[in-house]
């Protein structure tokens, strides 16, 4: 199995090559949660999570709403 490495919320994260964003979200237990995802500083809309493959070196940010003023 070929592995790739992305940076996920700033930390190194190994992944099986060919993983799509929707699968990463599932692996993280975040399916159905209210989150937003950016890859390499570009938003990836929810509608495209299934079609978006992850590549070596991708910088992935997964964010959610928290308390703030």
């Amino acid at each position: 199995m070929t592995m790739i490495h992305i940076r996920l919320n700033g930390d190194p994260h190994p992944l099986e090559a060919g993983t799509h964003l929707v699968q990463l979200i599932e692996q993280l237990g975040l399916t159905g949660r209210r989150i937003a995802v950016e890859i390499n500083e570009e938003i990836v809309p929810k509608s495209q999570h299934a079609q978006t493959p992850l590549a070596e070196g991708d910088q992935v940010e997964v964010v959610h709403a928290i308390g703030g003023g």
């Binding site: 949660r33 995802v37 938003i43 940010e61 964010v63 709403a65 928290i66």
Partner: protein, 256 residues
């Protein structure tokens, strides 16, 4: 109050930070009567229990108008990214509170970066409510660019020092044709009333409620203060006088 074509019945806008837990957050916000509720966008804690409660469970997007903020951003670039993430998070909702900070000691707005971020966000279709200094010239620039609400600080974020320069706030109110809200610095109910008596369209606060000994009671106090201040502004205060002026008539006193 109408902001970017959206009608709100309450002139009090509240934050969701610094509460003990989501139950207290939800209860205090309900008590405040606010329609607009601001929140922050942060990295999801990965590996955390995915069933853990979420802010948006306590503060439902169906019940409130959610106003994502860019708190913690020190550059225009980070603020713009944060707004785009928020828009994705809220399924295209485009009303944001822009704040770009200068340093972590004062959290004072960096107006140069704020102007840059506002320009990009407005071009990208956002409705921008903008946190800024109490400088009327900067406020005028932000309005001219197309920001839908001008939100000068009363004093430093989280300081509770009230409105340090009411004269500047009044100048901003008098020159603006979009809503003006005091954002930051409100410490207690009289500060909120003062903002409204100066003619502001609304008040945005967080810590004054969250860090009160009894947040629910302070939430109610703020709601009433904003309403009272607005009525006092509309009623028009009496003129100040140098000397006393009796409220009971002189005529008809016994012994007169």
């Amino acid at each position: 109050m109408t902001v970017a074509g959206r009608e709100f019945s309450s002139r009090l806008l509240v934050g969701t930070g610094k509460y003990k837990d989501f139950d207290e957050t939800g209860a205090a916000i309900a008590e405040s009567g606010a329609d607009v509720v601001t929140f922050a966008v942060r990295r999801t804690n990965l590996g955390q229990d995915a069933e853990a409660p979420n802010l948006l469970d306590a503060v439902s997007p169906q019940r409130y108008t959610l106003l994502p903020n860019t708190a913690g951003c020190y550059t225009a670039k980070d603020a713009v990214r944060t707004c785009r993430l928020a828009r994705e998070l809220l399924d295209g909702h485009n009303l944001v509170k822009l704040e770009v900070l200068g340093d972590d000691h004062t959290l004072y707005p960096n107006v140069v970066e704020t102007l840059k971020a506002a320009e990009t966000l407005l071009a990208d279709g956002f409705d921008v409510m903008v946190y800024t200094s109490d400088d009327p010239i900067v406020a005028r620039e932000l309005e001219a660019m197309g920001c839908c609400a001008i939100m000068p600080l009363g004093s430093l974020i989280g300081s509770g020092h009230g409105i340090q320069n009411p004269h500047n706030v009044r100048l901003i109110v008098e020159q603006s044709s979009v809503p003006v809200l005091v954002d930051a610095g409100i410490g207690t109910a009289s500060d909120a009333a003062m903002a409204m008596e100066l003619g502001c369209d609304g008040v945005l606060l967080n810590t004054a409620i969250a860090h009160a000994r009894d947040p629910l009671r302070m939430a109610r106090a703020m709601k009433l203060a904003v309403e009272a201040g607005r009525d006092a502004f509309l009623a028009g205060r009496m003129p100040r006088r140098q000397n006393a002026d009796p409220s009971s008539p002189f005529a008809g006193r016994i012994n007169s």
